[in-house]
Amino acid sequence: MNRLLISLLEGTKIAFSSIWTNKTRAMLTTTCIVIGIVSVTAMNTISDGIDRSFEDSMDMLGRNVVFVEKWPWGFGGEYKWWDYRNRREMEVKYVDRLRELTPSASEVSASANRSVSARFRDRQAEGVMLTGGTDGYFETSGITVEEGRPFVASDVQRAARVAILGATVSEVLFPNEDPLNKQILISGQRFIVIGILEERGNFLGLEDVDNTIITPITAFGTIFSLRYGVQLAIQFPTDEALIDGEYEVIGAMRQIRQLDPLEEDDFAINKAALFEAEFQGMKMTIYGIGIFLTGLALFVGGIGVMNIMFVSVKERTKEIGIRKAVGAKSWEILLQFLMESIVICMVGGVVGVILSIGVTQLINQFFIAYMDWSTVLNAILICAGVGILFGYLPSSKAAKADPIDSLRYD
């Protein structure tokens, strides 16, 4: 054990000194590894970035939420609209029944939306998504009112003409003033602004979810019809509760709709997992190709290391012979060269990780990338792995060298 430690220490020392004597060579080899590790890490940060922004987008739908709607979200397969068309519409009053019938749910809400234009004096916001919601909507959709207040059950009850503005709308209509308690026109109807939502960004990089206004669903119903397009959202406290909760919701809905056991569901259960399933394949393909191509860069770096290690072994044949002649074991020689290759790779890894921080910033300018500690740790581990993998062959060649031949070598 002691000998292992000493020879490990000795090996590292020799490795450093041999790197030091061949500075240009070591630098070039390290550069190869740096290139490889930077590309692998960059790919890693990009895939992490995509994952995170995807998850953020999913959270915009609401955490642990099951939606009940007339129309299913159509992903893949044939969309049988002619079957769905004949289904009954969802109704706002289902909210109370669902509350009773799904005891494990933490919140139930109903909402409806449509695209409107909003005006404040001479400023106009176009294509605004007006959402009418029950008071539970803030909870189920996971949105936070940053300034002012959300509407409450009593506002919903008396169909109060109050509005909560999304960040974009508030920016457009009130560039330099406080929107709270101002009167705006939504589709020509007067509403009082009582709150402003927290900024949330884009949904899957497409739709600006801040271009929205939220009002009580009853007020929405006095302007537009609630006969179509009502969406029910049932929120559960945890991931696990969601899985069982889905069946609870189906049961509750069948009971509300008074469906025969033989009849098929005349409603659709929609959830964020549907998105995930849809994009999983595409994500995997992109990651696969990306990792393959960047892995090639690392592979090339590894070959560079191996090549240089072979040169190094050849150049120091005599040294190996002498060490062996004075009693060095084969594994000690192996360790010495392996350490050299690992050190080169680790130095490359550290430099690569530092460069990757900059590269991540750069990628973030026009795409999404995110770097965390696990990425850094991965990079370092990969480097060590590359060092061992590509250093092993040259090292074992050195270890197996015959001391007599080696001493004679010129």
Binding site: R25, L28, T31, L293, L296, A297, N307
Partner: protein
């Protein structure tokens, strides 16, 4: 000293260090392979897009009220307020045009059920109105039966040509020709059906019943909005025909000279052009990543060349002592690095084209060989060889012969 002598020398020295050379070769091959395979894969994707977007014949021009494909934000309001394109406008266009031929309408009037005896389809069959040019303009081929005759159109006969999906939905065991199907209660006699055309991005192209537009116009009205399709005669004349067409349509539709066209013109070219930006970006990414891998490989070459120079210091010294010029030494080492790069490049290009084309098998599209990138690759490899070989070669040439001879 001639070039062959130098070349032979460099090959000799490559062979003298087989292990080292083969590793360097491998690195270079992998680098080139990365570039070429990424390039080939994108090219395959590009070809696939172009093929699937070739919905119409190559010289066919479609005029419509709404754009057929749209990316980015839409100004729906603007399109909606445009006046309809009517059958009357199409007939006027037919009289006035000089360069266009095969003019026909293109309109899906209904999406509904089609029934035959006791069989009935889902209500997702497109009922399209067209004339004798419709099939050719939209690159459908008749599998059996016949196309419309001008008389069918003129007399608004109740005849139909059905798509492959309708055939499989209604006629399992028997031939559809001569049978009578019912659409919204009205009977139509099938005179032909088309070959299977397949999907575009998951949407089938074979789920339709084609009926003389005169017949459908008699039922749904002549003033419904239609699309107009016509042929330029050849792909080269498309631009010219579009100009003529634009002039006539603006006059017919009384568009103010100061206002933009109030209709959209679509060709195969413009359809597939939608993806150009996307594939262009993929090309760039492929090139970038491939280039990075190649850079790594190039540095590996440089490293090994430097080692090679150090190892052969003595040889260089002797050659210099017996009269070799700096130029001779430089070209010797430069050629060695170029040879390595060329051989590695060749292997890499072969492997890259092979793997890239696996994507074409997967997408079931034609095999492509990116000749330009292959030739570019060879030229590029020469450049890489020079780029990474020039420093070691320069270093070798600068060696002092006396010092070199003494070197151990």
């Amino acid at each position: 000293m001639n070039i062959f002598e130098v070349f032979r020398q460099s090959i000799d020295s490559i062979r003298a260090n087989k292990l080292r050379s083969s590793l360097t070769l491998l690195a270079i091959s992998v680098g080139v392979f990365a570039i070429i395979s990424a390039n080939t894969a994108v090219l395959v994707l590009d070809t696939y897009f172009k093929d699937t977007m070739s919905l119409m014949g190559g010289d066919v021009i479609t005029v419509s009220k709404f754009p057929s494909i749209q990316m980015g934000p839409s100004n729906w309001e603007e399109y909606r307020n445009r006046q309809d394109i009517t059958i009357a406008q199409m007939e006027d266009l037919q009289d006035m045009t000089q360069s266009a031929s095969g003019i026909g309408p293109n309109r899906q009037y209904r999406t509904t059920r089609v029934s035959f005896e006791e069989f009935e389809t889902e209500p997702n069959i497109g009922i399209r109105g067209g004339n004798e040019y419709y099939l050719e303009n939209n690159s459908y081929n008749i599998e059996a039966g016949r196309n419309f005759l001008p008389e069918d159109i003129d007399n608004a006969r109740a005849v139909a040509i059905i798509g492959a999906d309708v055939v499989s939905a209604l006629f399992e065991m028997e031939t559809p020709i001569g049978k009578t199907i019912r659409i919204e209660g009205r009977p139509y006699t099938i005179i032909g059906f088309t070959e299977l055309k397949g999907n575009v991005f998951g949407n089938t192209l074979d789920r339709f019943v084609l009926i003389p537009y005169t017949n459908l116009a008699g039922i749904y009205g002549r003033n419904q909005n239609i699309g107009i399709q016509l042929r330029a005669g050849s792909v080269e004349r498309v631009a010219e025909t579009i100009d003529e067409l634009t002039g006539i349509l603006r006059a017919l539709r009384k568009v103010d000279p100061a206002v933009n066209n109030d209709f959209e013109i679509t060709t195969n070219e413009s359809l597939s052009g939608v993806f150009d930006q996307f594939t262009g970006m993929l090309y760039m990414i492929g090139f970038l990543i491939g280039g990075i891998v190649l850079l790594g490989a190039g540095i590996g070459v440089m490293n090994i060349m430097l080692v090679s120079v150090t190892e052969r210091t003595r040889e260089i010294g002797i050659r210099k002592a017996v009269g070799a010029t700096k130029k001779a030494i430089t070209s010797q080492f430069l050629l060695e690095s170029i040879s390595i790069c060329q051989i590695g490049g060749f292997i890499g290009i072969l492997a890259g084209v092979g793997l890239g084309n696996l994507a074409s098998v997967w997408l079931q599209s034609g095999i492509v060989i990116p000749w330009s990138s292959a030739v570019g690759g060879l030229i590029g490899m020469t450049i890489v060889g020079v780029l990474f070989g020039v420093y070691p070669a320069y270093k070798a040439a600068q060696l002092d012969p006396i010092e070199s001879l003494r070197y151990e």
